[in-house]
């Protein structure tokens, strides 16, 4: 008997089960009613307030003011190199040209990981967001490489109101076909030294979340 058969046989013998034993449905009491959403404005407010509490920097920015906001961010964080998701949404906002105008060098997100690691800024969209916990959910795909939100020193996430979800359950139902996604709740943090919260251990040191519209 190989290890697989042995382990499954041991499990079945411990549980007095056989290969064709029925599987009972999960009891109804194992379910918890999902959270009910408020209106879009209050939901966005809650999301931003939770992210701010965790040390993230949030902003509501008009499309016309995006260029100025980016310029300010570039100055504040001394951004020299940046990389971006290649989605239609980000392209439509003209983020890459605006950054170039501010003197930032744009690095392809498909470049070698060492080059991405040298970027000061990574710009992504947000697939879903959960106001209750201040959580952003980012799926990966060929136009949404995983390293963009991970390796650069600063992460800027652009969110639209359409991404808001009341509870995890609805988003899980929508993404279960994806092979990779990540929840991001505030900047990278640790409390491993005397329980002192320190931001930016391995992931981005700063997280900016902007709703543009």
């Amino acid at each position: 008997m190989n290890a697989r058969e042995q382990i499954l046989a041991d499990v079945q013998s411990a549980l007095h089960r056989k290969n064709d034993s029925p599987v009972a449905p999960i009891p109804a009491s194992a379910r918890v009613a999902p959270r009910v959403a408020g209106n879009t404005d209050t939901e966005m407010e809650m999301l931003f307030s939770e992210i701010s509490k965790l040390g993230g920097i949030t902003g509501r920015i008009k499309k016309s003011g995006l260029k100025i906001a980016l310029e300010k961010l570039v100055k504040e964080q001394k951004v020299k190199k940046a990389t971006l998701w290649q989605t239609a949404e980000l392209a439509a906002l003209g983020i890459a040209p605006a950054l170039t105008e501010s003197g930032v060098q744009i690095v392809s997100p498909y470049a070698d990981k060492r080059e991405i690691a040298e970027c000061d800024l990574g710009v992504t969209g947000v697939d879903y967001a959960f106001p209750e916990t201040g959580t952003l959910m980012l799926r990966s795909s060929p136009v949404k490489p995983r390293a963009v939100s991970l390796l650069p020193r600063v992460h800027l996430a652009i969110i639209s109101a359409a991404a808001l979800r009341a509870d995890l359950s609805s988003a899980f139902a929508e993404v279960r076909g994806s092979n990779y996604w990540i929840f991001i709740t505030g900047p990278s943090r640790t409390a491993d030294i005397e329980l002192t919260v320190t931001l930016g251990v391995h992931g981005p040191k700063a997280l900016y979340v902007w709703s543009v519209g």
């Binding site: 382990i7 411990a14 929840f183 709740t185």
Partner: protein, 483 residues
């Protein structure tokens, strides 16, 4: 890096606890509990209790159908392009990982914090085979430098002060490290960044395995988990078979319980959801994904209806934080990767009574752990069951207690189990104790009871309790005084 111990002597370990450990530990655990309290209150007690109940039932249901969910999980991971291995014990699991690493000519591995790999001593096995492996969670990085095992399952370096850590960095990394958490983090960040980029193998555990889709869920805060599972071309996850959950609804409930109970966060900074290897070069991520499903004693735990609930555990560590014993002695006294009430119940069963029979007795049975447990594990009940196993033996293991204690327990069971024997015994005690009695006290008792009277005299046995009580009342004792 911890090694699997041959025998755990809890009392001797307690003697070796450094004097400042309880202070550091209590500082940390009370902070954990304060932040937990704050985020649980926001949820409201009613909803929190409903979540706990749901968590309990989900986990119990999964265990009761574990064979089904494991088979399903395996199928789904394969469908997603992952490779599934099964390991019966630690040696199996270590061999599998070493073989994969060798086949891929791995030169350096980076690791996410994982209790399963601590349990099997994976780092030791890899290094013995010439494969360097680096812990990348800050706490684990620190204890790896110090050459000790974790003292808390969530905060592994909780027993060390910032001064200890600064001294360690200065000595082992050859840098000038000040005792400042921010500076120490910066040193670790710079040091580990290069390792993440250079590593050709990333090793992780998992918090949950979702059977419905074959997805690995990893809850982290620092971002090292993402680095290890995104940058190297090869990812191996070693996960206990107890970590499987049926579906996404279950994940939804458990993700509401775990971070709140563990670190007092509504959600941890990063939670990764990984299904198989990458699907395109553009998105990035490992080209190859292996899942090692680990038994290592878990199927044996499943056999006993009472102790089975040990496997409901989602490793949040709150039972450590509330435990008065853990708070006094810290994690290392428990002699293995798992400590506190979790260690007392899990290590005992994983390692067996010959190694760890001390541990179920390392508890005051106050029950705080069960009250806080997010999946409602009846920890004191399980510890009592394990104590009984150590003394009397059961269908899982033979008794290991000394013969005198085994005989004593048998006599005790006999005496308390049959009313007339008990009656008779209480009558006889009067006569048996007569030669030893001095003014209502027994100053010296024969072995093994002499260990008690070496410290203090034993009160002489009175008559029948009910007779004594009646007499006391008739004589107008305390009962009347209080009226």
């Amino acid at each position: 890096m911890s090694e699997v111990p041959a025998h755990i002597d809890f009392r001797a370990n307690v003697q070796r606890v450094p004097p400042h450990t309880p202070v550091s530990v209590r500082k940390a655990t009370s902070k954990f509990l304060d932040t937990r309290q704050a985020v649980v209150e926001v949820v409201s007690d009613e909803r929190w209790q409903a979540l706990r109940q749901a968590g309990h039932e989900i986990r119990l249901h999964t265990l009761a159908h574990l064979d089904h969910y494991l088979a399903r999980l395996e199928e789904k991971v394969r469908d997603a392009g992952g490779i599934v291995h099964w390991a019966r014990d630690a040696a199996d699991a270590n061999r599998i990982v070493v073989e994969i690493a060798r086949a891929h000519h791995v030169t350096r591995a980076v690791k996410v914090k994982s209790m399963a790999t601590e349990e099997i001593g994976l780092n030791h096995a890899l290094q013995a085979n010439g494969i360097p492996v680096l812990e990348t969670d800050l706490g684990e990085f620190i204890i790896q430098l110090a050459g000790v095992g974790p003292s808390h399952i969530i905060a592994p370096a909780v027993h060390l002060t910032k001064e200890d850590i600064a001294a360690l960095f200065t000595q082992k990394l050859g840098v000038d490290a000040p005792p400042d958490p921010l500076e120490l983090c910066a040193i670790a960040r710079a040091r580990l960044r290069e390792e993440f980029l250079a590593a050709d193998l990333g090793i992780s555990g998992a918090n949950f395995l979702v059977a419905e889709t074959g997805t690995l869920v990893i809850v982290t805060n620092e971002g090292n988990g993402r680095m290890c599972t995104t940058l190297p071309p090869l990812h191996i996850a070693i996960v206990g078979i107890d970590k499987v959950v049926p579906n996404w609804e279950a994940v939804n409930v458990l993700l509401k319980l775990l971070p709140r109970s563990a670190t007092g966060q509504k959600m941890s900074a990063y939670t990764s959801f990984i299904t198989g290897p990458r699907r395109s070069t553009e998105e990035g991520g490992p080209q190859e994904f292996h899942l090692v499903l680990l038994d290592n004693g878990r199927t044996r735990i499943l056999k006993d209806q009472v102790t089975r609930e040990t496997l409901l555990c989602i490793r949040c560590g709150v039972c450590l934080n509330v435990c008065p014993v853990y708070n006094h002695v810290g994690g290392h006294a428990y002699g293995f990767a798992y400590s506190g009430p979790l260690g007392a119940m899990l290590s005992t069963q994983l390692l067996g009574l010959n190694t760890a029979a001390d541990l179920p007795f390392a508890s005051s049975l106050c029950g705080a752990c069960a009250e806080y447990c997010p999946v409602k594990i009846p920890i004191p009940e399980i510890l009592l069951r394990l104590r009984r196993r150590a003394v009397e033996g059961d269908q899982i293991e033979r008794a290991v207690a000394p013969a005198a204690i085994q005989t004593g327990a048998k006599l005790g069971a006999l005496t308390f189990g049959i009313p007339w024997v008990y009656e008779f015994g209480t009558q006889m005690l009067k006569y048996v104790q007569a030669p030893l009695q001095r003014n209502g006290w027994l100053p010296h008792l024969p072995p093994p009871a002499h260990r008690w009277t070496m410290a203090r005299p034993f009160p002489a046995f009175g008559a029948h309790f009910r007779a004594w009580f009646r007499k006391r009342k008739d004589e107008g004792g305390r009962m009347k005084d209080e009226e």
